[in-house]
């Protein structure tokens, strides 16, 4: 059954491959897809036994550097112009974990992002950190996608790439929802372990992790394939090396659109998103700080005095 399924998927991929060849882009891109498929078929995933060879996919996001985000006071909207874009800081931990798995067990690490064409910079950074390859998912019809539509697009892309483990950062620092990791798992019908703080190991095809919850750490295990979302504790991201940067510079990063992924435009972007933003507003500043200056000993004493009066008045003691 498995063999048939693999042959069938190879056949399907080959058809898509021929279509790609006729339809699009460079021969090199086709080579990449063929290469991925051959590696999948030839070496097999952990489930096929033998030496563990995993395909690890790391979905990442390019975000505005939050520190620099400025608000348009008049309109209450975010000024994005001139704000530097960076790799979502929380994705550095998922990238590093993937690279660690590669060092420990041998793996192919593929970074993937959905975004505007300039999001390719985020992928280049991922490659410079040590990812083997990267795929950009970019298409004007994807613009305005909420987490439902984003999860759909990413899961279709990841299906095409092939996967044993999908590792996501906990959330992106701009949208800050943390919904896409579990969303991708749901679309791919995979088990998901969230808030993973440590990967103990992958033995046979079973991955054992520690998961950070409110009052402690759970120890969970699960057979591949699976989705992990990770917190900062999981790894210690390294800086890109010079060699990595050179590799990134030379890397050819394919760009996939809705046609290639077989996604209907009506299923994604604004039309395909169940949620709608009704309005954007500025948080009201409701606090008026009573500020005391404690320049010398006496003033310090008086300040603490006032503080305790404040705490008592507010019934906080």
């Amino acid at each position: 059954m498995i063999r048939i399924a693999i042959l069938e998927s190879l056949l399907l991929n080959s058809i898509m491959f021929v279509k790609d060849f006729l339809d699009r882009i460079t021969g090199l891109f086709c080579f990449v897809v063929l290469y991925m498929n051959l590696r999948k078929f030839g070496c097999g995933s952990a489930a096929l036994g033998g030496e563990i060879w995993m395909q690890v996919v790391v979905p990442i996001k390019q975000v505005p550097e939050t520190k620099r985000v400025k608000m348009d006071e008049a309109t209450g909207t975010v000024i994005r112009d001139g704000v530097e874009s960076i790799v979502n800081p929380l994705d550095l931990y998922s990238i590093e974990l993937a690279l660690e798995l590669k060092r420990r067990y041998g793996a192919e690490v593929i970074a993937v992002t959905m975004g505007p064409p300039k999001a390719v910079d985020a992928l280049k950074e991922a490659v410079s950190m040590g990812c083997d390859s990267a795929v950009l998912i970019s298409d004007p019809v994807f613009g305005g996608s909420d987490t439902w539509a984003t999860s759909l697009i990413l899961s279709e892309s990841i299906k095409r790439i092939g996967y044993d483990i999908i590792i996501c950062g906990e959330r992106a620092t701009d949208g800050d929802t943390g919904q896409v990791g579990p969303g991708v798992a749901a679309f791919l019908n995979l088990p998901v372990m969230t808030y993973v703080s440590k990967v103990e190991g992958v033995e046979g095809s079973v991955c054992t992790v520690e998961r950070m919850v409110e009052d402690g750490y759970e120890r969970l295990s699960c057979s591949l394939p699976l989705v992990l979302t990770v917190v900062k504790e999981v790894s210690d991201p390294g800086l890109p090396t010079l060699r990595g940067k050179q590799r990134a510079k030379a890397a050819v990063i394919p760009c996939w659109d809705h046609e290639l992924l077989g996604i209907e435009p009506s299923d994604v972007g604004l039309p395909g998103s169940p949620t709608r933003v009704v309005k954007i507003s500025k948080p009201k500043v409701t606090r008026q700080c009573q500020l005391c200056f404690a320049g010398d000993e006496q003033m310090a004493d008086d300040s603490v005095d006032k503080l305790f009066k404040h705490l008592t008045r507010k019934e906080l003691l």
Binding site: T66, V69, D176, Q179, T194, E233, R276
Partner: protein, 332 residues
């Protein structure tokens, strides 16, 4: 059948209903008062105490649907999602509200996809749109720089999570009556590819996200040895100790203590920030605290812009004075 009713996803631990459940009832009651809809709670576990389910009723639920089975004792995504989908299919809720807890933030997005509907995370405000009756879900985004109001016009149920501690638990109305429905999960629903091997409780950490009082410390503390003073202050206040990313990255405290965008979100009644400037990342994790007190040597520090009360002074002078004052208070 059209969708109707407001539902909350109650949580339990060791068969006892957790605090977040009652906070969610507060949110549900506010909405139910506006729309007149029936308020129900769903809860999944095994051998959940009757008294807890009864208390959900007394705190405002008109109906409690409890699904039980071996393997539902603790959160596992697949069986919990199967239970929730069962409830959605059977009762067709119009609105589902869950806590933005480690389990809620996993279960809700997973089920929203499975059910092809929208979800809004970490809502601070929930209301109805005039005319359509759609749920208006307001949440902070871009590190708390903006508030976005979001709706799910055409898909049902409308799903939202709210942060723990962002509402007070609903009050008990003794004698209030409602319907408790206990269902057994079938073997298909209990299937899980993930196996829970064990659990290690955090011993040194008062669960930050659950704390009523939080003392947070920043780089101004200068070195790890100086934390003793902060711990002493926190102990006297019965507070949990948190820290900025700077402090964590220097290895002075471990990651579960980190408050901010890449750490924990806290919404205590009282937050005291000491020796921290209030970076936007840190503010994102604490600015919904009810009362904010700050001590920092720089009067221009950002933290004072969100504080209710501030002392611009040397923390090494101020904190010992606070400790002395609290000790005196105890002696009385």
């Amino acid at each position: 059948m059209s969708h109707s009713g407001i539902w909350i996803v109650a949580e339990q631990r060791d068969g006892r209903v957790s605090r977040i459940s009652y906070e969610l009832l507060t949110r549900g009651l506010e909405l139910a008062a506006k729309s007149g809809a029936k308020l129900s709670a769903m809860i999944f576990g095994n051998q959940i105490e009757d008294s807890g389910l009864q208390q959900l009723i007394e705190c405002g639920a008109d109906r409690v649907v409890c699904i039980e089975g071996a393997g539902l004792e603790t959160f596992l995504i697949e069986p919990y999602a199967a239970c929730m989908i069962k409830v959605i299919d059977k009762y067709k809720p119009e609105i589902i509200i869950a806590g933005a807890t480690s389990s809620g933030r996993t279960l809700m997005p997973y089920v929203a996809i499975k059910h092809n509907t929208g979800l809004t995370a970490d809502c601070t405000e929930l209301d109805f749109e005039v005319g359509t009756g759609n749920l208006l879900q307001t949440r902070p985004a871009i590190g708390g720089n903006i508030l976005a109001t979001i709706k799910t016009p055409d898909h049902r149920p409308q799903m939202a999570t709210v942060r723990p501690r962002s509402a007070r638990p609903a009050l008990i109305q003794p004698g209030r009556s409602g319907e408790i429905i206990r269902l057994k999960a079938d073997s298909e629903m209990l299937k899980s590819r993930i196996i829970r091997q064990g659990f290690v409780a955090n011993e040194d950490v008062v669960a930050l996200a659950d704390a009523d009082t939080v003392v947070a410390v920043g780089r101004g503390i200068k070195k790890a040895e100086n934390l003793a003073m902060i711990n002493q202050l926190a102990a006297l206040l019965g507070a949990a100790v948190g820290a900025t990313r700077d402090v964590i990255d220097r290895g002075w405290m471990n990651y579960p203590h980190q408050i901010g965008l890449s750490g924990q979100t806290v919404t205590p009644k009282l937050y005291i920030g000491i020796g921290l400037s209030g970076t936007i990342q840190h503010l994102a994790g604490m600015q919904t605290a009810e009362n904010i007190i700050a001590v920092n040597s720089d009067p221009e520090a950002q933290i004072f812009k969100v504080a209710d009360f501030g002392i611009a002074g040397d923390l090494f002078e101020i904190v010992p004075l606070m400790i002395a004052r609290l000790k005196r208070g105890q002696a009385l």
